[in-house]
């Protein structure tokens, strides 16, 4: 990618993000009344993260097997309430074991 393209992408991303925060912060004083749109906005963060994670996680490492195992261990670790950093460490260690250590033995 050219530096010019990078700068336009950066300006678009940073500009949209800033306006989303600044415009309502400065202008709006009331609460959103519509229950439908409040519900919609409540679900957005989770559906976005889920769509970003699956199936992309299977292709984020050297093998689909390590990505799939990392997803399983991450879900288990989340259910054990390990927290953001703890779950991430568990997922990384899973990949390290499967892609890094297993090939040494097989």
């Amino acid at each position: 990618m050219s530096l010019r393209d990078y700068l336009v992408f950066l300006a678009v991303m940073a500009g949209v993000t800033y306006l989303l925060r600044a415009v309502p912060f400065v202008l709006l004083k009331g609460k959103i009344k519509s229950r439908f749109w409040r519900s919609f906005l409540a679900y957005v963060p989770y559906t976005v993260l889920a769509a970003m994670t699956v199936p992309a996680i299977f292709y984020s490492t050297e093998s689909k097997a390590s990505g799939a195992c990392a997803l399983v261990t991450a879900v288990v670790a989340s259910l054990c309430r390990l927290g953001l950093v703890g779950v991430a460490v568990v997922a990384c260690c899973t990949v390290l074991c499967i892609d890094g250590l297993l090939p040494m033995f097989f």
Partner: protein, 240 residues
């Protein structure tokens, strides 16, 4: 509610941000040199939005309009937080200060600010932003530099760190709320469809994420509208 109290309160967020943005730096170092990766974090201060943005930049078919729409929907929740925070700030938190400090409205800083009992002053909010901003920027810098020098077996493993953190955000919510569980499963099913159904394979990564999230969230809102937040009703109770 002064600046130094804000700085102190922001310390745990700053430490967490360092860890999360370290993995962003590693992910970014696969596509860009470290100054360019760090600049993304310094100008955006958002996790999911930046990771999605990186995917769109890395996709050869990614377009500027796709970037704008993806960023808009992924970060739309900040608008809700900004509205909510605007009800909570001190009277002298004027327009100019709001324009200056709006970048600090992230999931965690927002949550900490609105949980204060007294009105949020501009000085306190500015203090609250300092360490998270430094943590986010320096974490990205360290991750991007390390991504260039660490052995492949380590960066390969660190590549899932981000997804691990996403799982840690989504799964507890899925367990706590059945509607969220259903909405998330719809989003995942859609996401699989974009990956494996040949007719949909032309859709770029960014638009696929947007469509999945829109479909799942709209269905969620239509079939499982959320109850009013308990905090709202208590505020109404106080007012009455």
């Amino acid at each position: 509610m002064d600046f130094s109290k804000g700085v102190k309160d922001g310390l745990p967020i700053g430490l967490g941000y360092f860890a999360v943005s370290f993995s962003f730096g590693i992910a970014g170092s696969k596509f860009f040199s470290w100054p360019l990766v760090t600049l993304i974090s310094m100008t955006n201060l958002t996790s999911a939005g930046q990771f999605a943005g990186l995917q769109i930049m890395a996709d050869a078919a990614g377009t500027f309009i796709e970037m704008a729409i993806a960023t808009f929907f992924i970060n739309l929740r900040y608008s809700l937080m900004a509205i909510s925070l605007s009800q909570k700030v001190a009277p002298n938190f004027g327009t100019f200060k709001r324009l200056l400090l709006a970048t600090g409205i992230t999931d965690e800083i927002y949550a900490l600010a609105v949980s204060q009992t007294s009105p949020v002053t501009a000085r306190y909010f500015a203090g609250l932003m300092v360490l998270p901003y430094i943590g986010w920027s320096s974490g990205t810098l360290c991750g991007a530099v390390c991504g260039e020098i660490l052995p492949a077996v380590v960066t390969n493993a660190l590549g899932v760190a981000l997804y691990g953190m996403f799982v840690a955000i989504v799964v507890p919510q899925m367990k706590a709320s059945r509607p969220t569980l259903v909405a998330v499963l719809i989003a995942i099913a859609c996401s699989f469809a974009f990956k494996f159904v040949p007719a949909l394979s032309g859709v770029t990564v960014g638009f696929a994420i947007i469509i999945c999230a829109l479909v799942a969230s709209l269905l969620g809102a239509a079939f499982f509208p959320i109850k009013d937040e308990p905090k709202d009703s208590s505020e109404q109770g106080e007012a009455a």
